[in-house]
Symmetry: D2
């Protein structure tokens, strides 16, 4: 099965949601309280995906709100610099700040993140700042779940999804769950269910699907059975080192395997996975191949220091896949 | 066309949302600042509809949150007294208050309402307090738009709609727009659109549909054309004294006429209309007849002092229709 | 001892703080959930004192913020009607509402009050709306403790006290504690202590002084010992039916006795007490006599239906004192 | 004139308020959006003063609230490491974050700061966490104005001042104005006036005193004339490169001159000034000498990268004063 995209569209993908700052520990292998220096990168799941797909050669755009300060300016300049269209990135006028993520790299197994998400500019994106004219120029609208955590960003996302569906733009929903900003698990479940039912492709970890269903230890079968009653055509459920499963509405199941690599830190894996997976789908590859692209891209990013700057090129991905041809994807 | 309901269900209708207090001016024909005495009634659109349908002989239930004080107690006792099932009306534990509506009756044309809606208990209904077991015992879930205005009531409603659709419960969406508690017109439009697209029947005034579409002076044709791409089977658009239009997905249009009456005040008309209209649909009457029931019920309530206590019986409605048989409903 | 006031001043007293609506049960001797009709009066401690002193013939003014609706208009018209200067009562422009107090009159011993104090206009009085030119025209600034419960009203009061002290205006602090709007007992204690130390006269019940000191069952001796290290010259501590004690910085103690009366309800007693007590002080009576005036005024108000409209005249007070001459005040 | 301190006390100084993180640009002479690496230091005016006085050999303590994360841990470890007593630094349990200050060092004249002050832990210090037993062990309570910007920190400070005055602890008020967190200029003026009137020593820039008085271009004469009607014995008003003036209640005026130095950045100057000035007063030096110590300490800090780590020793200060003996303080 292949997902069909509207080939007339100028943009391959428009991502919506947060664009933030990562402050990554320069000194490794120690707790953050002993880390004295931090290096600055653009971060935030949908921003990383816009950057990642742009570096893979797709035409990407971004809808989001930036702080009116040096951090906001840096993000806009960086994203424009790697080719992302920033014409729909608006600047906050009410003193909200850029979200921050300080990373601690104690060991490959222990990577914690200290988030600054109070009153951040990205959550103040207003529905009036979401343009139908812009969205309808794209094949894909990429929605990340965190942007649903607070009003008015929540309503901006819901409006964007309504506009995408009205204009034949495929909606990709990356669950991207961050407990920090949500009022309750019930609240998360309501909005995740709402958007997942309207999306064409849903991507997340098994844990994130459990959050969506407000249950513990849910099964992939129950998840896809419920979702395929609604809009989704393709559901990708990631199980960490065990690899990932892609389910299609027509009944196929594909399994993708993780590529072993020397891990520096774990964050950034999901966004690089999504970027390469979507790149493969958009360029007409089949789902098995897309799963390989996703895994290869993730393997490259977890071995490097940043999430955004480390996003690989097509050549790097394809080289890794070729080198590891025995770590295959099997159609079960 | 007739709407089909699941005949196995114990409840005809479960309404969800606010149950409040109306404080109606005892002295008429003067501005409120000169009104010295107020009489207390239960109010709030979905509470009025639960009461109205119960007085018409239907089995009604209510999901909502009440203040933990004498006003909350009065509401629960009154609703139980007229036969509404109050088993799913929960009591707030955080000091929130009962919503109030002081009414001013200057003249039949000038009836203003002074609302107390800050931090009211009904808007604190939590999604965890919405029970799937309860909702699936009903033919209909009646949702009123005001309950979407604030979290967590908003999420409670969205969850109730998800549960209703999952369990073959018809969703009736009464737009019931009150500007007071909404953050912006964009926000209202997003949630009204969301719920209307998922509802089976949508009822509102032309002005309320304009709010839903975030436009001025919209047309019924555009409204139904957009909605019939989604779940709705029946859309009722009210045009005040000009009467109302009922549109079906199968392409029929019905017009209902208002019955002339001696008007004391205008509020309460919409809720009595909805009660009798739904009563007629549930008891298997056709849409033309349901429109007459709605108009007759509204005509009775606007001639009386309250909204809830004035809800008519079936006999009163049928007598008025018989008396006014020349004020007909025409299938256009 | 007598308190000396600046005799050059145009106003005898300017009160600052809340002016609200009381909705008093028309039907007595029943719980509020069975009360169906409510009568409207002006309420709120400082408003009652402005009204009470004006009815006693003093020149009173008021600083406060009113809702921009019919309730706000009623308050302004009523207060102007009884002679209070309303030139410094500003109208809120942000949709805040008038505070409400529904009263339940079950029996003389059981009178509860159901308060609406969320987002009320009076607590939005801004320091920029407090005029030095106005305050310095008065002998007395009457501050009620409840106005300290929330910003910006809190800052408006603190500024008014600073301006009063700068301009030789006596500050009377009526503790008037209402737990409802305060964040914590610690918070109340901090601001009550701050204003009490700067006041010239402090008036409250023993319970209210305990709140100020954040202790249980405090002693009058400890209270006055701490306060007389600061500005206060006179401290009045009320002990309910046991009567009240007035302490002067110069070391005198006076005891006032309550006049027995047929009690309808207990609320309003404190404000009528303060009005008459201040009237007596301002008109040059000694403290013993002022205590009698206070007790007599309270006895009259508790036998009537309202707090504001029931405020007595000088003749009524003096007649009651003459009639009850054996219920004396003794200098201990 | 010399300020007399209670010589029996264990602590020389207890500071109260914020302890935060400075993230100073590692790369200089460029705008912050082009700065890619940041170095972490403890920051916040009262924390800097506790650190500065401790490094000068005084016994310092600190009252404040820290985030329950790696940044909070770093601050506590660092302050304990330089000898500050951290027994009254409490850890927030509600997810609040450490305040941040990103510094931009474009040039010695252009040093901007990007503050993260939303929902920070230090502003959640509760009055219940301020201990009378701790405060009364100190000669001095050092209060910084920023801690008055929000509740409950505001009430914690007001309580601390009440306890200090009750227990013969000198109150030093460092105005330390940061516009960011205040609701309005009126609000700042109310609380600055309140605390300044109760303090023994008030220190600030001319601009900060203008904020306190809510005027533009105020005069030192008017400032001291108003303050000396209340508690202050000593008022220090800083005029930047023109130097500073110290006024005593007994009528003396002293002028301190700035020491010229090679400036790297301007921030940190005020805190190092206050640390050395207070050190000199506490160790019994006269006011002229204290002004020199303050200026010398400021000159040293502005030539270095951090505010806290750069705090000089007594030897460094005295060496600079000796080297620059011709840049004198004159008694005018």
């Amino acid at each position: 099965m292949k997902i069909e995209f509207n080939s007339e569209r100028e943009f391959d993908i428009i991502a919506i949601g947060r664009a933030c700052i990562d402050l990554n520990a320069v000194e490794y292998n120690r707790p953050m309280e002993e880390t004295m220096t931090f290096k600055k990168y653009v971060g935030g799941s949908p921003a990383n995906i816009a950057i990642g797909t742009s570096k893979l050669g797709l035409k990407s755009g971004f809808i989001g709100k930036l702080a009116d300060d040096q951090h906001g300016l840096f993000i806009k300049q960086y994203m424009a610099g790697v080719g992302v269209d920033t014409s729909n990135m608006v600047t906050d006028q009410k003193g909200h700040k850029t979200g921050l993520a300080f990373t601690e790299i104690k060991s490959p197994e222990e990577c914690s993140i200290l988030m600054y998400r109070d009153e951040v500019a990205d959550l103040y994106l207003d529905p009036s700042e979401v343009s139908e004219d812009y969205i309808k120029r794209s094949k894909i609208l990429l929605v990340s779940g965190t942007a649903l955590a607070k009003s008015p960003s929540r309503e901006a996302i819901l409006k964007a999804v309504q506009l995408a569906k009205k204009n034949d733009v495929k909606v990709i929903f990356e669950l991207d769950y961050r407990g920090y900003t949500w009022a309750s698990k019930e609240e998360t479940s309501v909005y995740y269910t709402l958007v997942a039912q309207q999306a064409d492709v849903v991507v997340g970890t098994r844990d994130e699907f459990d959050v969506m269903e407000n249950i513990e230890a849910g099964s992939n079968e129950a998840t896809i059975s419920a979702l395929f009653n609604h809009s989704p055509e393709l559901v990708v459920i990631k199980h960490g080192v065990e690899g990932s499963y892609a389910y299609t509405k027509s009944g196929e199941t594909f399994r993708g395997h993780a590529y072993l690599t020397k891990v520096l830190k774990t964050f950034g894996a999901g966004d690089s996975y999504a970027s390469a997976f979507l790149y493969a789908l958009i360029t007409g590859k089949d789902i098995e191949t897309a799963l390989k692209y996703g895994s290869a891209s993730a393997a490259i990013v977890v071995s490097k220091h940043s999430s955004s700057e480390a996003m690989p090129t097509v050549e790097e991905i394809e080289k890794l896949i070729a080198d590891r041809s025995k770590e295959a994807v099997t159609n079960q």
